[in-house]
């Protein structure tokens, strides 16, 4: 468990966060089980940094992000933002906190209301939070569009008139409207073409510098996460298995899952690619409704032993700032 003291550097502190979705069956919709989408994750996000959160489809990345923002009520654990516990916050206090925390979504098509103009979409958060009125709104919208490199003349158009990359910029402008300090980017570039991805990533990096933003950057593309993150957390089946600085994680991964994941990423260079040693994992990811006992990864782990089925490895700080949940991580030090 990460029980580090909160200090001034820490913007967000997540402790043993759990989000279980009930499974109902039968005519009486009796609860017969639960999808343990997030099952005890702990980490800090430092002011001004980008923390990357990677893992395969269904491992709980988006749910972690949504639960942090209290879009879901957590099953357990705590979320502390700027020293305030979000889980028990209500009404006006929650509304005030929400201004500071925003989210950018994966699908630039589905996440924008097709019947609203760009001006309405970007201006909406300002109105909802009474952050601006009348002509001031139009001014702010124009400024926001300029920030994301969109022509303010487009303000009267509708989302379908834009390409995927442009729509994602609208999403970014909307997220910036209330001058948040923290943005959760949930696979913001996965739906975009390769040549457009770099445009959006460069924009996010520029804005971070300009406004001292803090990002939680969720992605499954390990190359992009390496590019954008200061530190990286790796998720598997509802838990974080490893967390370290970007350089340390990519150069010296200590968890067998991180090792396999990194070795599976194709490198766009035939010479470098041929030189690499691949660890091919057997089998598929188990269901989060019925996860394996002990270590979540043991059914696919190439070095699993009997103890891995019996107890859950602690998420421990094996070196300063390098956390890992594996009994045998020392072997790779």
């Amino acid at each position: 468990m990460v029980t580090k003291e909160m200090n001034n550097d820490t913007l967000l502190h997540v402790d043993d966060l759990k989000m279980h979705f009930p499974i109902h069956r039968g005519v009486f919709q009796r609860q017969v089980g639960a999808v343990r989408a997030v099952d005890g994750v702990s980490f800090d996000v430092k002011r001004g940094e980008t923390l990357g959160l990677v893992g395969e489809s269904g491992c709980g990345k988006s749910t972690t992000g949504r639960t942090i923002l209290q879009l879901y009520k957590p099953t357990g654990g705590s979320v502390t933002f700027e020293g305030t516990d979000l889980v028990n916050l209500k009404g006006e206090q929650m509304r005030q906190m929400r201004r500071k925390m925003q989210m950018i979504f994966q699908d630039p098509y589905a996440s924008l209301n097709p019947r609203m103009t760009v001006a309405q979409l970007v201006g909406e958060p300002l109105m909802v939070h009474n952050a601006a009125t009348g002509a001031e709104i139009n001014e702010r919208v124009a400024h926001l569009l300029e920030l994301v490199n969109l022509n303010p003349a487009f303000a009267t158009r509708y989302p379908h008139e834009f390409s995927g990359g442009q729509r994602q910029r609208i999403g970014v402008a909307r997220a910036l409207a209330l001058q948040p300090s923290f943005i959760i980017c949930d696979e913001p570039i996965s739906a975009l073409d390769v040549s457009i991805q770099a445009q959006v990533v460069n924009l996010l990096e520029e804005l971070q510098e300009q406004f001292n933003l803090t990002y939680l950057f969720i992605a499954h593309d390990l190359s992009m996460v390496r590019h954008i993150s200061d530190r990286v957390a790796v998720m598997y089946l509802g838990v974080i298995v490893e967390l370290a600085t970007r350089d340390e994680l990519y150069a010296k991964p200590l968890h067998p899952y991180t090792q396999a994941l990194l070795s599976a990423v194709p490198i766009p260079d035939p010479v470098a690619d041929a030189k690499r040693k691949r660890t091919i994992l057997q089998g598929d990811v188990p269901s989060p409704a019925n996860p394996p006992s002990g270590c979540r990864f043991r059914t696919r782990c190439p070095i699993a032993e009997a103890v891995c089925a019996e107890s859950r490895p602690e998420f421990r700080e094996i070196r300063p700032g390098h956390f890992v949940a594996c009994f045998f991580a020392e072997r790779f030090l």
Binding site: E56, V194, S223, P268
Partner: protein, 329 residues
């Protein structure tokens, strides 16, 4: 001229839509050598799938139409074949795997049944022979307890397993060519690695030629011997894999490679970004389709669409400019 087992020349395919005619493929020519793996890369909408679907006689018509070209396979033009004949070629001599296995598998038939059918239809096996061969095929693609799992339905398999079944099915009649269209795009990276590993092993064992379509330049680097890069319905560059990655010649290829972060990246550098958008294909361009986004564009580029020009051994690029000097070739 090398001996191509598939030789495509001047392929043009259009779609008639309410908004106008979409020029999806605009004169594409390429050859496939026996036993080689040819990678086809390019962004969404550039014409990769339509090219292969045209060759295989699978373009829905209307709205689609193969306007021109030929595709010579075993001395015959696939584009002129009867529906019946080309269906036989597809089942037996050219195997196919698509991105989403759920749409290619019949949800109400068992995996076994779907594997057996082409074996009986195309190579005349009896029911029992086909059953046995189906089990062999399943274990060949790494499905444990193959005999029992023949009785399962597609939804009982995971995404990775379904893609293995698709590969087994495509290879069941020992085709000379396997055409795979983004077969790992919907899969997670560890499952993708499993499938790539499988395909490489089968390629070594069976020796078929492969056309592998993907938007992932990393996947192609690890698999293909030769690569075609497509943009706006054209092939804009063609080279052996190592040559393409170390000496890209077309500004679009240069930009794509520069815009990719790498998992083995050492220093964090700003990503190169290609400004602007991919072209809309309502007109067959008379200029270079990349000109609006190209920082090397000169007057000639706006007047005439460059053909593929020889720029090195086995290396061709559709560009008027030598990017090293910034001068006209």
């Amino acid at each position: 001229m090398p001996d191509f087992i598939l030789d495509v020349q001047g392929l043009e395919t259009t779609f008639r839509t309410p908004d106008g005619v979409v020029h999806a493929v605009n004169g594409v020519s390429f050859g496939l050598l026996e036993g080689e793996t040819l990678g086809v890369v390019g962004e969404s909408g550039c014409g990769k799938s339509v090219t292969m679907l045209s060759v295989l006689g699978l373009i829905p018509s209307p709205p689609g139409k193969v306007e021109a070209g030929k595709a010579i396979f075993s001395g015959q033009d696939l584009l002129k074949m009867s529906k019946e004949d080309i269906r036989h070629v597809r089942g037996a001599q050219i195997g196919m795997v698509f991105q989403d296995p759920m749409t290619s598998l019949n949800p109400v038939l068992t995996i076994g049944r779907q594997l057996e059918e082409p074996l009986m239809l195309h190579i005349g096996m009896t029911k029992n022979q086909a059953r046995e061969r189906a089990a062999e095929l399943l274990s060949m693609v790494g499905i444990p307890n193959a005999k029992d799992r023949l009785n399962d339905y597609p939804h009982q398999y995971s995404g990775g397993m379904r893609q293995r079944v698709m590969i087994a099915m495509a290879l069941s009649c020992s085709p000379q060519i396997l055409i795979a269209d983004e077969p790992t795009t919907a899969l997670d990276v560890t499952i993708q690695a499993q499938i790539m590993d499988l395909v490489k092993r089968l390629r070594d064992e069976l020796g078929m030629a492969i056309i592998w379509i993907t938007h992932d330049l990393g996947v192609v680097a690890g698999l293909a011997q030769r690569v075609l890069v497509m943009y706006g319905g054209f092939i804009i560059e063609e080279a052996p894999v190592q040559e393409l990655y170390s000496n890209p010649e077309h500004p679009y290829t240069i930009g794509l490679l520069g815009s990719l972060p790498r998992v083995d990246e050492k220093e964090r550098t700003k990503l190169f970004s290609i400004e602007g958008q991919p072209p809309v294909l309502y007109q067959k361009p008379d200029a270079c389709p990349f000109a609006p986004r190209c920082k090397w564009a000169m007057e000639h580029c706006w007047q005439e669409n460059p053909p593929l020009l020889v720029v090195g051994p086995e290396h061709r690029a559709a560009c008027w400019v030598d990017t090293r000097t910034g001068r006209h070739r």
